[in-house]
């Protein structure tokens, strides 16, 4: 028979990091909304390091210089209902409210999304467009990784075997930054994304001076679209939309799968990105 799975629920982050260092093969489990899916068909883990409601890593707090720090343990319900997130970092709030439905939002955590790093992780394009930094910790200390450098491949990340995700840091956005978010899923709720996009677009004196455009579900990881970001710089809104549309052509190489087609993803991504500019309010 299979030996019983070990289980630890640490009292604080320090204890969690010690267990993580000692047992790098154990499953790091928070809400379980990804790791527990079809659990009876999965390989039984050697151990579970339970981070659900780990003290000290679940809060949403104001960071230095007007930024926001979202603890890795914060759930989608908490993020989706937070007035500060909704006001200043709306793509993340909107993404949170569109993840699964009530049951998934009650259990799913930001840290889980960042850690499992699924190509369809709904919060990930928002983190990318918002220029988030991921704070990780280990017994060796703490470090921050720009989200742009976090994903290293299909479901692989910069997280080391002894590290845990602690928080996402959202920097304040420059005045005149417009934000946008759009998820296109298989249906209107409880849906897996086919394409999603997040945008942070800075407009000064009527022209776009800076833009971060991030897309999800169109590659093996969430991606920024540099071609669009460069093409729109210095353009007025309508012109930026046209330039963005043109720059989207050939910019991504999505795949066909059981949920959608490459051509659909390509086309919708182009429409969404163009609309981010033309639809700015």
């Amino acid at each position: 028979m299979t030996p019983e799975t070990a289980y630890t629920r640490p009292r604080d982050l320090a204890e969690a990091l010690a267990v993580r260092a000692a047992q790098p093969s154990w499953m790091v489990l928070a809400g379980g909304t990804d790791l527990m899916v079809s659990a009876i068909h999965k390989r039984v883990p050697a151990g579970i390091l339970d981070l659900w409601r780990l003290p000290g890593v679940g809060a949403i707090t104001e960071g230095a210089g007007g930024g926001l720090v979202i603890g890795a343990g914060a759930t989608w319900l908490e993020i989706g209902r937070d007035a500060r997130v909704a006001k200043a970092w709306s793509p993340l709030a909107l993404a949170a409210r569109e993840i699964g439905a009530l049951q998934i939002q009650a259990r799913g955590t930001l840290g889980g999304n960042i850690g499992t790093s699924s190509p369809v992780g709904d919060s990930l394009p928002a983190l990318l467009a918002l220029d988030a930094e991921i704070e990780v910790a280990s017994v060796r200390g703490r470090r921050r990784v720009p989200y742009a450098a976090w994903c290293t491949g299909y479901r692989t990340t910069a997280l080391a075997a002894d590290e845990l995700i602690v928080a996402a840091h959202l920097p304040p956005l420059a005045a005149g930054t417009h934000l946008a978010w759009r998820k296109v899923g298989t249906r209107r709720a409880q849906s897996i994304s086919k394409v999603m996009g997040a945008a942070a677009m800075r407009v000064e004196c009527g022209v776009v001076t800076d833009a971060r455009i991030a897309l999800g579900a169109v590659a093996d990881r969430p991606i920024r679209i540099a071609a669009v970001e460069q093409a729109v710089r210095g353009l007025a809104r309508a012109a930026a939309a046209e330039a963005a549309r043109a720059a989207m052509r050939g910019a991504i190489r999505p795949i066909d799968d059981v949920r959608s087609s490459a051509s659909y993803r390509d086309l919708v991504a182009e429409n969404l990105v163009a609309r981010f500019f033309s639809g700015m309010i």
Binding site: I40, V184, T186, S191, I192, R259
Partner: protein, 754 residues
């Protein structure tokens, strides 16, 4: 038989709360997986990963502790009777024998049973079938080309040809050639998963040589028939009982016989109770779905817009075994010409064999597949003539005295005008065509309608052949037992029988006990299918109750006992007399003549009638179609329980809307590639529009209190209404469902945006 008077009885026509409602909302209702049996083991199924081949044998991984766990391994060699799932034809095996042909991916090859579910899953993974691969076919065209032969010489399971108003093809073509306009189209409808929320589940146990099977099913006597053959036993050696069933929609019509066979074989070998509850992915991958269909349709009209000829050629993909395909195809062709006046029709239908898992029963049973084409064609006629779509349908609709494609003269209970009028009266103005969403997306809106009918009960002489029976008995406590094999699968059969019996007996509904169906204690009422349970079996229960009431009242007079019927019942039982029970068999109404050879005559005892209106909004950035409004007007004859009938209509409507827009089976090389609930999606609360339901009651004189079928009809029409609405919104034709956003995106070169 005299038509029954349509009166104003005490509970019929009122929304008596569901008899099983409290048990269901409290979690007390016991479904199969909730039932326990001492020492029960869990079964699992070894399945093929190959769509077509020959089974050479099995390799059992010695790394699994077969002996230590006591795990039981069952193959076709363990079958005591005939290795087949007996239904219409003897072609589908219960387990592929070594040396036998594997016909589809996920076909059952062998079985295991072990003390725990985890062990059963592990044991299953420890069995590797060896299969010699053969070329497979997955399309209807490949099946018709018959280069690979799966069934007979031509891969055609069944074909029908119905002619009206002509004798030969040349004559027919001449009539078409003389028409002012001929609208031609090809229409494709996809497979659809029933997605009952309770997966297939069954448990068996042998006691003193007798096999007891309990499970989630629609038709205990179908299972009984199949088990007699598979187990090689007599009718009393196997008892089939239905547990509370978490949805069926046709999906638990034929497949439960397969699962019952599997648990029976495992329980026999394991010498203990064995339970199998399918995993969701397994259920989606292996069990039956709605037949995909391709229909070519020609609609010939004269200069005045009257239909002069209808030509239909429908092909359905039956999958790897015949199962119920001939009957599904039959219902499909019988509805294919639509509820429109036409003197000359030709309807051809073929159902072909492929290496897909068998397609089977699903609400509507072939009719939705042929309704979609004719209602798209009628819409194209409206566009061609610039005629109001509802007015056109009203102008051409069949009415009392008209004849259908099978030359059936419509008698009583034709609600065509009533349902069309109901839709017209509530239609209001169509949605504003162009708009902009809050996020900036441009929007286009459109409206679609459709008009359709659905035959209630078995086709032709089917009901007479079935001879459905029900029994009503006087039991202790002044109660009355209704014994019928019709199952409650959520549609409300128990409550409906309770109301009919309560009124017929003139007793309080609490005095009526509808017995949980099992083949030992209830007679064969026929299967729980074809919108027949209320109309046919409900009618039998009604007559049965009246006879029991008569006999009990006579006994009371004879013995000087007075009081109401409950008091008489109580006195009767206490008198120690033998059980007072009556059995009644269905009698077809007079004048039902059907010719199976020419497929002409009265195809159904009566039709239900429906009309539907749908408003949609298409997002031109994402190509998603949003349902703004859906109104259904359905003629049900008489709503025995209006809330239950409303629930039937709305549930069927949403399944149809899902089929039209988002439900999609992705087959890859014969395998269901999206076999999970995450990827094989059905509508959620958020996808469903507010549903508007109008119940129309044009009584059927031979149904209980005027009732006729309601279960299937709401499934038939809405898909065409959706396609008509999307076509209206974008100015181009949508002739294939589901109309996924990917399909809308691919159509953008054809858009003509008003």
């Amino acid at each position: 038989m005299e038509p029954r008077a349509v009166g104003a009885p005490a509970t019929v026509g009122t929304s008596l709360p569901r008899v099983d409602g409290v048990a269901k909302v409290t979690g007390r209702a016991r479904y199969l997986d909730d039932l326990d049996a001492p020492g029960v083991w869990y079964g699992a199924t070894v399945r093929s990963k190959i769509p077509h081949g020959v089974l050479d044998g099995f390799d059992l991984d010695p790394g699994y502790d077969w002996a230590g766990t006591g795990t039981v391994f069952v193959t076709a060699a363990d079958i005591p009777g005939k290795n087949m799932i007996l239904l219409i034809e003897e072609d589908q095996v219960a387990l592929v024998p070594v040396g036998g042909r594997v016909m589809h991916v996920d076909e059952a090859l062998a079985l295991v049973a072990a003390p725990t579910k985890a062990l059963a899953i592990a044991a299953c993974a420890a069995v590797t079938p060896r299969i010699t691969v053969k070329p497979a076919i997955f399309t209807m065209d490949a099946a018709l080309a018959a280069e690979v032969k799966l069934y007979g010489d031509d891969n055609v399971y069944k074909q029908f040809l119905i002619r009206k108003g002509h004798a030969r093809d040349a004559e027919f073509e001449a009539i078409v050639a003389g028409a002012a306009h001929v609208i031609e189209g090809e229409y494709v409808t996809g497979a659809q998963e029933q997605m009952y929320i309770e997966p297939q589940a069954m448990m068996a146990e042998w006691r003193e040589g007798r096999c007891y099977i309990v499970g989630s099913m629609q038709c205990p006597y179908y299972v009984h028939k199949a088990m007699k053959a598979l187990l090689g036993c007599g009718p009393t050696d196997v008892v089939i009982a239905q547990s509370v069933t978490g949805g069926g929609f046709g999906g638990k019509e034929e497949y439960p016989s397969m699962l019952a066979g599997h648990v029976a074989l495992l329980a026999h070998k394991a010498q203990r109770a064995v339970k199998i509850v399918y995993e969701r992915d397994e259920d989606i991958a292996a069990t039956t779905k709605r037949h995909p269909a391709r229909t070519r349709h020609r609609l010939a009209v004269d200069a005045a817009g009257e239909i002069v000829a209808i030509d239909v050629d429908c092909v359905m993909d039956g999958g790897a075994y015949l199962t119920l395909s001939p009957v599904v195809l039959s219902r499909g062709v019988l509805h294919a010409a639509g509820p429109y006046r036409c003197a000359v029709t030709r309807v051809r239908g073929r159902c072909v064999a492929t290496n897909h898992p068998p397609h089977g029963a699903f609400r509507g049973f072939g009719a939705p597949q042929t309704t979609f084409p004719y209602e798209r064609q009628i819409e194209k006629l409206a566009v061609l003539r610039g005629e109001d779509p509802l007015a056109l349908r009203t102008r051409l609709a069949l009415r009392k005295g008209d004849s259908t494609a099978t030359s059936q003269i419509l008698g009583a209970s034709v609600g065509s005008d009533e349902v069309l009028t109901a839709i017209r009266d509530c239609a209001g103005t169509p949605p504003v065509r162009a708009g902009v969403a809050a996020n900036g997306s441009p929007l286009r809106r459109g409206r679609g309608v459709c008009f359709y009918f659905h035959g209630a009960g078995f086709t032709g002489s089917g009901e007479a052949r079935l001879a459905g029976r029900a029994q009503v008995a006087v039991v202790a406590g002044g109660r009355f037992e209704v014994r019928a094999s019709s199952t409650d699968i959520g549609q409300g059969a128990i409550t409906m029988f309770t109301q009919i019996a309560s009124d017929a007996l003139n007793v309080d509904p609490a005095r009526v006990v509808v017995v949980d169906p099992n083949t030992r204690d209830v007679p064969d009422s026929g299967p729980t299918v074809a919108s027949r349970t209320c109309m046919v079996v409900g009618g039998v229960v009604d007559r049965c109750c009246r006879r029991v009431r008569g006999r009990l009242e006579a006994w009371g007079r004879e013995h000087g006992v007075t009081g109401d019927l409950a008091a008489l019942a109580n006195a009767y039982v206490e008198s120690g007399a033998p059980e007072l029970a009556d059995m009644v068999q269905y009698e077809p109404p007079p004048g039902i003549a059907w010719d199976d050879a020419t497929y002409t005559g009265a195809a159904y005892p009566v039709f239900g009638w429906g009309a539907c209106l749908v408003d949609v909004e298409v997002d031109l950035d994402t190509y998603e179609v949003k349902l703004l409004r859906c109104v259904q007007a359905i003629d049900v004859g008489k709503a025995i329980n209006p809330i239950i009938v409303k629930g039937q209509i709305e549930g069927g409507t949403l399944q149809a809307l899902g089929w039209a827009l988002l439900e999609n089976i992705v087959y890859r090389e014969g395998r269901v590639a999206n076999a999970s609930m995450t990827n094989c999606i059905v509508p959620t609360f958020a996808d469903a529009p507010e549903l508007e339901t109008i119940m129309v009651e044009v009584p059927y004189p031979f149904g209980p209190s005027g009732a006729k079928g309601v279960g299937e009809i709401p499934m038939d029409g809405p898909a065409a209404a959706v396609a008509n609405a999307v076509s209206d919104a974008l100015g181009c034709a949508f002739d294939e469902i589901p109309i996924l956003p990917e399909v809308v995106a691919a159509s953008r070169d054809r858009w003509r945006l008003a």
